[in-house]
């Protein structure tokens, strides 16, 4: 009879073991090598380069002097940067939650065996394929009080109707959210719809037998099951939030005033238009630090700690 005591895992290293591990995984390691190089040179390299430049006084061309935290002091005294930072929080929150809510509603409604499902789906998805360079202009026109919705409603006889968010400092950021929703809700819908289609049909039968109202099933049973899809959609949308630039440029150019400025635009303007590489990279570094501190724990728990599967 065998009885075995449990010991702490020991790091054993015999020559043969290493040989087999290497021999078996060599092709895999080799296949990952180009990516590893890219990660090292491009991603990590560029990040470090960016961080380094933020401690210099570079203007048009990078130079490698050292001015300490001077750029950061300027950055945090800069109205526009502070507005950008708060704008991205507003936009991010509303855009992600809005896309998820609208996407979920669209997915649920499309999932009701409607006729012309394909048509609806395409209509909701097509904005994702359009570049913002000009669709931004279309939105700008539509939201402009003198041209679009407000004029239309007033022309119909409702003289007091006012919809001037686009030109209102306090509300302008929400028009960016509206156009953002238009662009991103369709993709969210597709992801959630995929999730809905994957739900076991027995669940529906069970809910019917129990006499649970449909909306209740969606909120209490289906929604929790869609968790992975919601996470994926959130991740995809979040990458868009951080990179938000084109939309703002096309619709408001950061205005009225600096009401709709966002960090990526701050970085872009300072790097390429204002010949202020140092301040631009300082802003980029702050963005980087923010993203890393929010995401690193999640990425670590989700992807790094569990070492793949055992094979």
């Amino acid at each position: 009879m065998e009885t075995i005591s449990i010991r702490a895992p020991s790091v054993a290293s015999s020559g043969t073991r290493i040989r087999r591990s290497v021999r078996t995984r060599l092709p895999a390691a080799f296949a990952l090598l180009p990516t590893a190089l890219v990660v090292l040179v491009v991603y990590i390299g560029c990040m470090l380069w960016t961080v380094r430049l933020s401690f210099t006084s570079s203007t048009l061309l990078p130079k490698l002097d050292w001015v300490g935290l001077a750029q950061y002091t300027r950055l945090f005294a800069n109205d526009r940067f502070l507005t950008s930072a708060s704008n991205i929080v507003i936009f991010g929150t509303l855009f992600i939650s809005g896309c998820l809510i609208i996407g979920f509603l669209l997915a649920v409604f499309i999932d009701q065996n409607v006729r012309g499902e394909g048509l609806f789906r395409t209509v909701f998805l097509y904005p994702y394929s359009m570049s913002f360079v000009v669709t931004g202009v279309a939105w700008q026109w539509f939201l402009n009080p003198g041209l679009g919705l407000q004029k239309l409603v007033r022309d119909m006889g409702f003289e007091s109707f006012t919809f001037d968010w686009l030109v209102n400092q306090r509300m302008a950021i929400y028009t960016i959210v509206i156009a953002g929703l238009w662009h991103g809700a369709g993709l969210t819908m597709a992801i959630l719809l995929a999730g809905l289609r994957g739900i076991d049909s027995d669940l529906w039968k069970a809910a019917r037998v129990d006499g649970i109202p449909t909306w209740r099933v969606y909120t209490s049973v289906v929604l929790p099951l869609l968790r992975p899809m919601v996470i994926t959609a959130t991740v995809l949308l979040a990458t868009g939030v951080v990179k938000l630039y084109d939309l703002v440029v096309a619709m408001t150019l950061g205005g009225p005033g600096i009401a709709t400025e966002v960090p990526a635009k701050f970085v872009m303007d300072h790097l390429f238009e204002r010949n202020n590489i140092a301040l631009g990279t300082a802003a980029a570094t702050i963005m980087l630090i923010t993203v890393v501190s929010i995401l690193a724990p999640w990425i670590y728990v989700r992807y790094i700690r569990p070492q793949g599967r055992h094979a």
């Binding site: 203007t59 048009l60 061309l61 009080p145 030109v167 408001t252 950061g254 205005g255 009225p256 204002r274």
Partner: protein, 413 residues
Amino acid sequence: MRLKTRVSAYTLSIALVWSSGALAQQMKAEVLHWWTSAGESASVKVFADQFTKAGGTWVDNAIAGGANARTAGINRIVGGNPPTMMQFNTGKQFDELVSNDLVRDVDAQAKAGKWRELMPKPIVDATVRQGKFYAVPVNIHGQNWMFYNTKVFADAGLEPPKTFPELIASGEKLKAKGIIPLALGGQPTWEHNLFRAVMVGHGGADMFRQLYGTRKPDVVKNPKFKETVEIFGKMRGLVDPGSPGRNWNDATALVITNKAAMHFNGDWAKGEFIAAGQTAGKEYGCTVVGQEPKLVIGGDVFVFPQTKDKTALATQDKLIQVLTDPTSQVEFNKKKGSIPVRMDVDVSSMDVCAQKSHSILKDPANQVESMEILSPPNFSGAMQDAVTQFWNNPNMTADAFIEKIVNAMRDAG
């Protein structure tokens, strides 16, 4: 420097490829610029045709948006694969290319062509670094023009204003008649452009230079400065609520379609009037508002990236000849909406606005350097941020605005 050897090795290999090609390719010039609209394309074609006539091959590389084009161009110059010539605006945009020895000096050609005598001093100063020409100016844009709708003014029984206080007074009258007094592209650039027009028109050329050039905070202590800022502040009431975010040409369209009376812009806005079939002096007029007309001028220049290749040098020399030739100057600027950079050419064939421009600039006292010439981009950028905040926030006081200007001066160093 290793980068440099790299660069020249690369140019050399390209040169080898070229010289092995057909003879016609010997004078092949790749020109990088951001003149992409129909009117601009027509103007650049003048140079291209002249160059072709002179036996060269013009390879056109147009990239929309100055920032995009400059980024691409600078990347290529630094990356060792430069175009033969590249557009910049007058001003500090190419300073570091000069100090890093990446562009060629063209002082020999300038001396031969007497550029220093023939061109307005602000333009010369904007192009000369360490006593040498490093770029070829090709045109002069007036930035503080006011375009107005003649019919609207006639109907209202008003004369186009000569000063800014007058402008505000007539603006209020026009507003009462349901006309948009001032059409403005509500984007930071154009708001800032308007501010500069007020600054030079009301505050005067010296104040303008102090603000954008020397950037000493003392300037704001001048009571005239605050007065100017307040006038600018009052003009917030003269634009329509749809202004924010609007493109400048949509603002021009408001004047064209009789919806608005006045529009401040550079002389490039003529292109929109022309495209709508209107003629200067008839449907619309152009004027410079201010006690004495001071014209803020800037323009476009071309720089010539360094090369050791003899053929390439000859090509660049030929290009310089073409750019400064009097005939091509007139033809180019007719299409571009600007005026020739040489004050010695005959402008009688150009439109009334251009002629007005030319006559104003005849007196060197009326020539005012543009912000692009006076300020480094980080200061003009910071100013733009300040201006757009003030313009779009009716509750912001002139003093708060002035404080932001002082901060901008401090930050830009």
